[in-house]
């Protein structure tokens, strides 16, 4: 693996980490609110948030392109303020973030739903406001689901292809991630390089998931629960 390949790996990790950071707060917030929400339209809202999981990523990418293209309302407004998104690294982050978001939300939401609401009520009677109750009770009790969701989101971001290629293109040195490079290499007949990069993605994904499992186990032991 040469310097070029290493750069692709680092770029991919950077993009995935940034996308994960971007979705972390809104994702956890959405999961928490959805778990506690009992009003009308709950199912519709949940379906909408899950949609990117089942849509073809290229369709999501196309939707984003429609939104952010230079001649579109949002994209035009951004361009007026000197922000270029499409075909830049920002597009990579955005596309992977959108695709990763539902994974985080689903996992974290389930975890929040399993927190006994009476414990939250008790925290309130013990003097916690809603925010303190969230950080001192809900979040610590749901942390496994939140971490698992974050890891899933990160892993998904590492391998995102369809939405990224639609929104960010496949520009070596600028927007080319591992998944895009593998595709490109096979197209131009550099099969050995494609295989090497594929092996790297397997190692990365395996490492991430294994680290999480190990963390859970260790934590479960020290908690004695």
């Amino acid at each position: 693996m040469g310097a070029d390949e290493l750069r692709i790996v680092l770029f991919t990790l950077q993009m995935a980490a940034t996308a994960t950071l971007v979705v972390l707060v809104p994702g956890v917030a959405a999961a928490f609110l959805l778990a506690g929400y009992r009003g009308p339209g709950k199912t519709a809202l949940e379906t909408l948030l899950t949609l990117p999981l089942v849509l073809p990523p290229t369709a999501v990418g196309l939707l984003l392109l429609e939104l952010l293209g230079r001649n579109r309302p949002v994209g035009g407004w951004l361009a007026d303020h000197g922000i270029e998104v499409v075909f830049t690294w920002k597009a990579v982050v955005l596309a992977t973030a959108v695709m990763s978001f539902p994974l985080l939300v689903r996992s974290a939401r389930t975890a929040f739903e399993e927190v006994d609401p009476r414990l939250v009520g008790l925290a309130r009677t013990l003097g916690c406001g809603p925010a303190a109750a969230f950080f001192r009770v809900s979040l610590p009790l749901a942390w496994r689901g939140v971490v698992a969701g974050t890891v899933l989101a990160f892993s998904r971001a590492l391998g995102e292809f369809g939405a990224t290629i639609m929104l960010a293109g496949n520009i070596p040195g600028r927007t080319q991630t591992l998944a895009l490079a593998i595709f490109h290499d096979t197209q131009v007949g550099r099969d050995a390089r494609a295989a090497t990069l594929a092996a790297v993605t397997v190692a990365l994904a395996f490492g991430t998931l294994w680290l999480t499992e190990w963390l859970f186990r260790r934590r479960a032991r020290t908690e004695g629960a």
Binding site: D116, L122, A123, R124, T125, L126, G127, A132, V137, E223
Partner: protein, 355 residues
Amino acid sequence: MSVEIDLTLPLPRFALRVRETLPAGVTAILGPSGAGKTSLLESLAGLRRGAAGRIVVDGEALLDTARGVALSPEKRRVGYVPQDSGLFPHLSVLGNVRFGAHADRRAVEAAIDTLEIRPLLDRKPATLSGGERQRVALARALATRPRLLLLDEPLAALDVRLRDRVLPWLLRVRDEWALPCLYVTHNVGEALAAAAHVLTLREGRVEAAGEPRALLGGLASEAEADSGIENLLAGHVVSHDQAGGITRVRSATGLDVAVTLSPERSVGAPVTLAVRAEDVLVAVAPVAGLSARNVYAGRILSIERTGVDVTLRCALDPSGVEVLARITPAAVAALGLRPGGPVWLAIKSHSIRLI
């Protein structure tokens, strides 16, 4: 210190409607399952939306819908102990006790001492026994220096043996912390042991309110009293007789009682004597040659048929102390018992528990 409640809360099957002024001390709330007891406590704690009316504790309105006052739970300073203790599983015992946002160190220390949980502080709730959990939950509520304590069947999840071990802690909290306290229970014995005032709820309404003994005299004999303690007498330790294996206690009403040797209670210490109604022997003539150390003359105030048993309400001479005795209808017939008639009541030292 009093608690004024004028509350309505719509529930699925009926509306909870409670209008009571509770005196200081412990108020027991009895009633069948689904009568709205837990909903009442949750409304007082501020955990129920839709509760309307007025709640005033110690002069401060926690809720006054007419004037737009509805304090959030964290501002009410109401300590709540649910049936299953509701400890935070991710925190140690100390973390739980310290959890309260107003928990100052002195209150935390005092709560730990009252409930004697110092040896448990590093443990996680999952490793505690049921009785220990309830003590920790009580300590956690006390550490916030609440103005009102709400206990939702704190002993219900415990078996009878553990219940007897936790009840003294509750009495201790009552005596040492002097808080108004609402105590939901199914158990008449607990209500009699702990409460100065009783409310019974049925379908969201207050069915009866008043003095425990007056109110529960009849109830105490129903099936609900199965594991209850019907006779309770406050007093203090007079002396220990090592050789005789007894401890002498004098009740506040001047009755001398011998109980099994309890050297852990120092002379002069206040104690409560507890005797089950079925442990009181009844005779129609002066008793001689009996092993029971406590024999008292008295007369029958009333005879009530209660289920398969009969409950005698007796007044002792000359103190006037009331004692409930439970015997069979056959015994009533054989002895020819009638209201106003003289009786001698005998109680074995072993049948008396100190709490």
